[in-house]
């Protein structure tokens, strides 16, 4: 038998805030909508930035992409702060359990020297690339237009930092502080890493927030994550018995699967907005992904040797197919 508790019934005066009723009709709004739509100041901005007097404090013309409504760039995950942190808190629990599993069973010590070296050589310098990604997403959050677009970029930036920290822990676990020193030296000096470092520094110099989004989140991460975490860690290393490494990078694999849906959704809506947008996005994606692919070849070589060209080529094909679905033909 069901018992209905009785409460005092009061007629609400309205369902939602005006700006949400205008967008979505007269009905209750979700917390994602309340926390995201129209919360950036849009009119009557008081002063131009002293550091950039040619622009407004929030200025959509900082990018070549033009949107009639920037709030069209919805995040399919509908992340606001709460759902974002709850999701990541669960994932960090798994990551923590994985790290302690590997540590407590001494799995790191069972790796052969050869596989350990591959894991360290490929993964540890990437903590610097992740720090670059953090700064780039922070730029997009800081200077992009419209809270719906910039908000997830801040979450993404903090994820990039988290990944840099997981990679640092991996380095410490497999090779102690010497591994971090060696990784940094490689990032700064080794020929294998220079194209990628140059790519990251070129991104840091890029001040068009949407171009930066394409260069970092679509082009570079779209190749780097599948190549490193799927091909090298999950396939190549695991097949040789080093699945402990895959446990330490599970966060990155899961994260890429989740975040690419958001990246694709943003690109798809922006490309569908106008032919001009599509042309700009195509140009950016073509340039940056070609550079990212060639920057990845010497990195992938560290693990796959002569198989690197083929692996990167295949991944580039898969990338073409991926962006085709967002309306971009390479």
């Amino acid at each position: 038998m069901q018992i209905d508790l009785r409460t005092v019934a009061i007629q609400p005066q309205r369902q939602a805030f005006d700006h949400l009723v205008r967008r979505f009709g007269d009905k209750a709004a979700s917390r994602y909508q309340e926390g995201s739509y129209d919360i950036q100041a849009a009119e009557n901005l008081h002063y131009r930035p002293t550091w950039d007097p040619d622009h407004q404090l929030y200025d959509a013309s900082l990018t070549r992409i033009v949107m009639a409504d920037w709030y069209a760039l919805k995040d399919p995950r509908q992340f606001y702060y709460s759902t974002y942190t709850l999701t990541r808190a669960r994932q960090q629990e798994t990551a923590e359990a994985n790290f302690s599993f590997v540590e407590s069973r001494g799995l790191a010590d069972m790796l052969s020297d050869e596989l350990r070296a591959v894991a360290l050589n490929v993964l540890v310098p990437l903590r610097h690339a992740a720090w670059g990604a953090n700064q780039n997403n922070t730029t997009v959050c800081g200077y992009g237009y419209g809270a719906i677009f910039t908000q997830p970029c801040m979450y993404h930036a903090m994820d990039n930092l988290g990944i840099a920290q997981y990679l640092s822990r991996l380095g410490l676990l497999l090779g102690d502080t010497e591994a971090l020193d060696a990784g940094k030296k490689a990032w700064l000096d080794d020929a294998s890493w220079q194209p990628l470092r140059r790519y990251v520094e070129d991104c840091l110099a890029c001040r068009d927030p949407f171009e930066l989004f394409v260069a970092q989140n679509l082009a570079l991460d779209g190749l780097l994550y599948p190549l490193v975490y799927e091909r090298i860690v999950d396939q190549h290393l695991s097949a040789q018995g080093a699945s402990a490494v895959a446990m330490l990078t599970q966060f990155m694999s899961d994260w890429f699967d989740e975040t690419r849906k958001w990246v694709d959704a943003v690109i798809k809506v922006a490309a569908a907005e106008s032919d001009a947008n599509r042309a700009v996005l195509t140009e950016w994606t073509r340039q940056w992904s070609a550079r990212a692919a060639s920057a990845m070849v010497p990195v992938v070589e560290l693990a796959l040797g002569s198989g690197a060209d083929e692996a990167v080529g295949e991944q580039l094909e898969a990338f073409r197919a991926r962006v085709l679905k967002t309306g971009i033909t390479l």
């Binding site: 005066q13 960090q92 922070t138 410490l172």
Partner: protein, 506 residues
Amino acid sequence: MDMKVAKKKLGLKDKYKLMTRDLGWEPSYHSKDELYPYMNYEGIKIHDWDKWEDPFRLTMDAYWKYQAEKERKFYAIIDAHAQNNGHLNLTDARYLSALKIFLQAISPGEYAAHRGFARVGREFPGVGPQVACQMQAIDEIRHAQTQIHAMSNYNRYYNGFHAFADQRDRIWYTSVARSFFDDSMSAGPFEFMIAIGFSFEYVLTNLLFVPFMSGAAYNGDMATVTFGFSAQSDEARHMTLGLEVIKFILEQDPDNLPIVQNWIDKWFWRGFRVLGLVSTMMDYMLPKRVMSWREAWDIYGVENGGALFKDLARYGIKPPRGWDDAEKAIDHMSHQFMLGLYQWSFGTAFHSWIPSDADMDWLAGKYPHTFDKYYRPRWKHIKKLADAGTPFKNYGLARLCQTCQLPSVFTEPDDPTLTCHRETVYKGEKYQFCSDGCQHIFENEPEKYIQAWLPMPQLFQDPINGDLGEWMKWVSLLDGKDNGDYAGSEDQKNFEAWRGLATTNQ
């Protein structure tokens, strides 16, 4: 079994260093100036970013974990609050005026701080300060969102909340807070840190948050007080960051001192003016009052602020130049401001009211030297007009200060019978100010402040052209619902009727 090689034991500090600043590197494909272009134009000299002491050590995994716990609790409580008609536990719906002002003027400031900290979190060429600023950036969007979510349920039942996003950009009094945050964000990265990180978060935040959250607790507002508790540990981090920033800058080069002192002077006064809104809340808007504005100032301003500036004296920092004028204003500002709000209440998306006799007696007790002498007679006069059916409304346009954007309702520091008014002519145009502090700020950066968007002149431009009804439409203000006297308002009628349903059998 093989012997495991013992790993080096890393201390917390060293470990955190590897997790943050060791991630950075010296760029070589671009110059540092190119990647961090805004580091020099303010004149601040930083010689060694490595001297930065991390104000807290929180890696992302720990951040996600702690914050998620707080989020779970917060939303569980506000869900229960909404489900159980928690709004009927308020002392009185008059209390909501304070919340309406908060949502229209302060929550947008949280969002602005989010974007501002994202910018400085990118622009500083040192990983330590970058990470600390980025964490504040993500915290600040948390605060904007939890505030909107906490107040969303009030919007379903009460007027004045529904158009906060429109009013943030258009209504006259929100431009006080908006111009404050716009001012900080349009400044360079170092000034932003002194403005928000230090002056606002460290010096003034206690005067804003403690009264607000205590006021919520005293008046049965479980939703807001939950937000307050939930934000407390974030705020503690923000305060340590604010303090570290100022010490770091001052220790880097003696030439930084006069620049920083000038910013402290400026932002203290800017902040003090914004806090005028809080003074009215504490003295007038809370049905159950926590303490008077004067008492709050004595604790959080004089005591805490005094100790802080004593501590900073070893760097050569002096108390802000407007400090004495602020002290002189404390016993007057809430009364002057509330009288202003009452006479312009046709143009506010919150209610004001004439204080009851009991309230006036309370005010007289808290302000023995000023209230009965200067302000009770004015309230009495206003009450007489209201009782006669001719309530006092000032349809004349308020003269707004070009800097702080408040109406010029404040008096001379040494003469409470004389309205303070200053003027500066710049490039042939006349600009008006409410105080020496605001005039001084303008004269230091006239090219900035002549750009200010002033909401009053807007009244005479398209699409309003001087028509009050058109203006109300433009600011999404529903006449007769959102504005005016609390007495006789829909909010009052509804609250009393609903509370009757909940507490009686009529």
